[in-house]
């Protein structure tokens, strides 16, 4: 039984990470109705930023500042820079296509994803960059509940994930900006007529979503230790799965989807075999899609004439 709970904890941790990536993806889909294929690559950029921050402060073994301060700098910098990158991508690649046929921005998004990935390859090389998390965060200092251990990185990821998700939920449901976002998501033209600055709302959404992906990138670096230019693609796929399983455009759906995918992956790896984990995750997606085409928490869309 302890094995079950251990896998559950591991699954919830990766699930929280997937959920954060899926949230940004889902938010962008909500306001623009665009599948942002480049979202996974923003996660990759975030992970690289974290790595270079560690290098800047002397590397994992010889850190020149306190670890909590380092973590704060990493997360803030990644959120800010990746958020800015997301806004730049929106301005350059997606805004000119806002009224184009649906297929055009999708293909542009694939192009942006490919461009980001090969830019990272050009700038940082093909080798794996290693965080060496264990050198500055003691993994043994965690919580021990019975025979289940939750190490400190997992605690960090879980707590930060829950805080960010709760914060986002508050932002979307309680603030003026959140109300505007929901209005734009419901009907962009009507929102514009009511005097909402649609461009600003879309920019803000892109910033928030991309910043979440950047934060998730650092969490991924801390958890999985390795960064390379292709990690974005896999992370993006998992986040798509999470967002779609939960219902694209629905924020609680993205959280639920992320956790479901994370836990499912962890159980498949633990109980069956790691070779089939991706296949089974994709299988879950396809089955959910066939049974509930708009996801677990999504609402069925009416087709308008």
């Amino acid at each position: 039984m302890s094995f079950f709970f251990q896998e559950l904890v591991n699954g919830l941790t990766t699930g929280a990470l997937y959920a954060l990536v899926a949230l940004g993806f889902s938010m962008v889909y909500g306001v623009l109705k665009l599948l942002n294929f480049a979202h996974g690559d923003l996660y990759m950029v975030g992970a690289y930023i974290g790595f270079f921050v560690i290098q800047w402060f002397g590397g994992a073994q010889h850190l020149s500042i306190a670890v909590p301060l380092l973590l704060v700098i990493m997360f803030v910098l990644a959120a800010g820079l990746v958020g800015g990158l997301g806004v730049a991508i929106e301005r350059f690649a997606y805004r000119p296509l806002r009224d184009a046929p649906r297929i055009a921005p999708l293909i542009t998004a694939i192009g942006v994803s490919f461009f980001l990935e090969s830019s990272a390859l050009l700038l940082f090389g093909a080798q794996y960059r290693v965080y060496n998390t264990a050198d500055f965060i003691s993994l043994s200092s965690g919580i021990q509940i019975g025979s289940v251990t939750i190490d400190s990185v997992q605690i960090l990821v879980l707590v930060l994930g829950v805080v960010l998700m709760a914060g986002l939920q508050l932002l979307v449901n309680r603030t003026r900006l959140g109300r505007q976002m929901r209005a734009v998501a419901a009907d962009r033209e009507a929102a514009e007529m009511l005097g909402i600055n649609v461009n600003f709302v879309i920019t803000a959404t892109f910033f928030l979503g991309s910043a979440l992906a950047g934060v998730a990138g650092i969490m991924g670096g801390l958890l999985f230790n390795q960064v390379t230019s292709t990690i974005g693609f896999i992370a993006g796929l998992k986040a798509f799965t999470a967002a779609v399983v939960g219902g694209i455009g629905s924020i609680p759906g993205a959280m639920l989807g992320g956790l479901v995918i994370g836990v499912a992956e962890s159980f498949v790896t633990g109980y069956i075999s790691s070779t089939y984990s991706n296949l089974i995750v994709f299988g879950i997606l396809i089955v959910v899609m066939l049974i509930r085409p708009s996801g677990l928490l999504g609402r069925a869309q009416l087709q308008k004439v």
Partner: protein
């Protein structure tokens, strides 16, 4: 393609016809040639292109050029097939490459020692129909979700099916499918006592197959089915109201595309004599899409031409630094020549760029000799010509990386500003592009190729979504 200069045809909407009239032609004699070429009909053009393709090996292509040609033809065949489902039926199928893989793996299993004690070695006339029918059935199965899933959801599900194919071939039944090591020792194509052994024969075969496929698809395009596909693309609800069986039409598009992809897969597997899971991964899908987008979705000739152009540039010219440099500067100059009007502005920009280069080089050399320590990394007369123009510091890698980031920022800024500022900003952008090229890109051809494909997808979609040969779709506001 051609528009009657006398005005709208009977039955054509006048406004649509006038929009179509506003075609862009290239300047001066190029535009004349373009108009004259437009008068040649579709079928003669296909015949000319086919004959030219068949004549190519007679010019004495070397082994490398022949291989590039074969790869380009395979991708062109795939792009023509993808056009059915994406261009005509308007369904974004991101799992298309799986059908290519299915065809290749299907042929590999039926024509190697992989299955059974002695293996199966079927002749091509038997294995091809089996593989194509199998692919069509798989296409129907993959198309099934398209009945319920709209637009974006379909794109995601098909993307996952494509990924699932790679995962499947990588992990399932390694003794049969070979896992990451793939299947090797595949028979060449053999039928009726003939074996295709040389690359030249595969080149001929591919040219013939491509031309025949294009001809069949052309007939299909204006058939009942073809018109139904486009009707479903434009408006499924209206199509359903016009008694078109929308679901069946969507499924048939998937099945047809899958069959073309499987056909390409069999030839690919036979020519390579081996298949690996990575041959059917996302980069290939993106290449096919890049070709289709460049040529123009919805046009058979566009899909084939676009794919050929993309592949010849990607696989052929960007492999060797000397040719890549010529292509880079040539294309850059050509774009400026075509896009920058009036020509006084063009002359000003070019003059300013050249002056800026020499001035920057002289200043940098005067400050520190290490700033210009390395010469341009392009070789030959191009490198010599640029020696005193472009700065290449002692540590080109770091400088090039910084330059690349600044260049991307400049390019984004260039799109945001207008009028005079854009002209002024253009000068340092061009110079910086040359700088990044000489310091970094020219020595990393494999990464440059990927960057280029990504840039093609973005820029084409923004600047010319209809592609080079496609027709601009008139959007009706809903």
């Amino acid at each position: 393609m051609s528009v009657d200069p006398q005005g709208p045809k009977v039955g054509a909407d006048e406004w649509v016809a006038r929009q179509a009239h506003r075609r862009e032609y290239l300047p001066s004699w190029l535009g004349d040639a373009q108009r004259r070429a437009e008068r040649i009909g579709w079928w003669p053009r296909l015949a000319i292109a086919g004959l030219a393709g068949l004549a190519l090996p007679l010019l004495g292509l070397g082994g490398f050029q022949l291989q590039v040609g074969i790869d380009a033809l395979v991708i062109a065949l795939l792009a023509v097939g993808l056009n059915i489902v994406v261009g005509w039926a308007g369904l974004l199928d991101l799992g298309y490459v799986a059908f290519f893989g299915f065809g290749a793996y299907g042929y590999a299993l039926l024509s190697s020692s992989q299955l059974g004690a002695n293996g199966i070695h079927l002749p091509y006339w038997l294995s091809l129909p089996i593989v194509m029918i199998g692919a069509a059935l798989l296409g129907l199965a993959v198309g099934l979700p398209s009945r319920r899933l709209l637009g974006d959801y379909l794109a995601i599900v098909t993307l996952f099916l494509g990924e699932a194919f790679v995962e499947f071939t990588n992990n399932v039944a390694p003794s049969k499918l070979g896992g990451p090591n793939g299947i090797t020792g595949i028979d060449p194509i053999q039928a009726f006592g003939v074996q295709l052994l040389t690359n030249t024969s595969y080149f001929y075969l591919l040219v013939i197959v491509l031309v025949v496929t294009m001809a069949v698809l052309r007939l299909l395009e204006y058939s009942r089915t073809g018109r139904a596909w486009r009707a479903v693309r434009e408006d499924p609800l209206a199509a359903a109201a016009m008694t078109i069986p929308v679901n069946r039409v969507k499924l048939s598009a998937f099945a047809c595309a899958a069959m073309v992809a499987a056909l390409a897969g069999t030839i690919f597997a036979a020519q390579q004599a081996s298949v690996f899971p990575t041959d059917f991964d996302t980069p290939i899908l993106i290449l096919i899409y890049a070709g289709l987008i460049l040529g123009g979705t919805g046009s058979i000739a566009g899909a084939a031409t676009g794919a050929l152009v993309v592949m010849v540039i990607y696989d052929g010219l960007l492999r060797s630094p000397a040719e890549a440099s010529l292509l880079f500067y040539g294309l850059g100059l050509l774009t400026l020549l075509v896009k920058l009007r009036p020509w006084r502005r063009l002359a000003a920009v070019l003059g300013a760029t050249i002056a800026l280069g020499f001035a920057a080089h002289a200043i940098a050399a005067a400050i520190s000799s290490s700033a210009v320590a390395t010469g341009p990394q392009s070789s030959g007369w191009l490198g010599d010509g640029l020696r005193d123009w472009v700065i290449v510091p002692a540590n080109p890698q770091t400088a090039g990386n910084v330059g690349f980031v600044v260049l991307v920022c400049l390019a984004i800024a260039l799109v945001q500003v207008k009028g005079r500022w854009r002209t002024i900003l253009l000068v340092p952008t061009i110079y910086l592009a040359a700088f990044v090229w000489e310091t970094r890109l020219v020595v990393e051809p494999s990464i440059t190729r990927q960057l280029m494909i990504g840039a093609i997808l973005i820029v084409m979609m923004i600047a010319r979504p209809q592609g080079l040969l496609g027709q601009r779709r008139v959007e009706v506001a809903t």
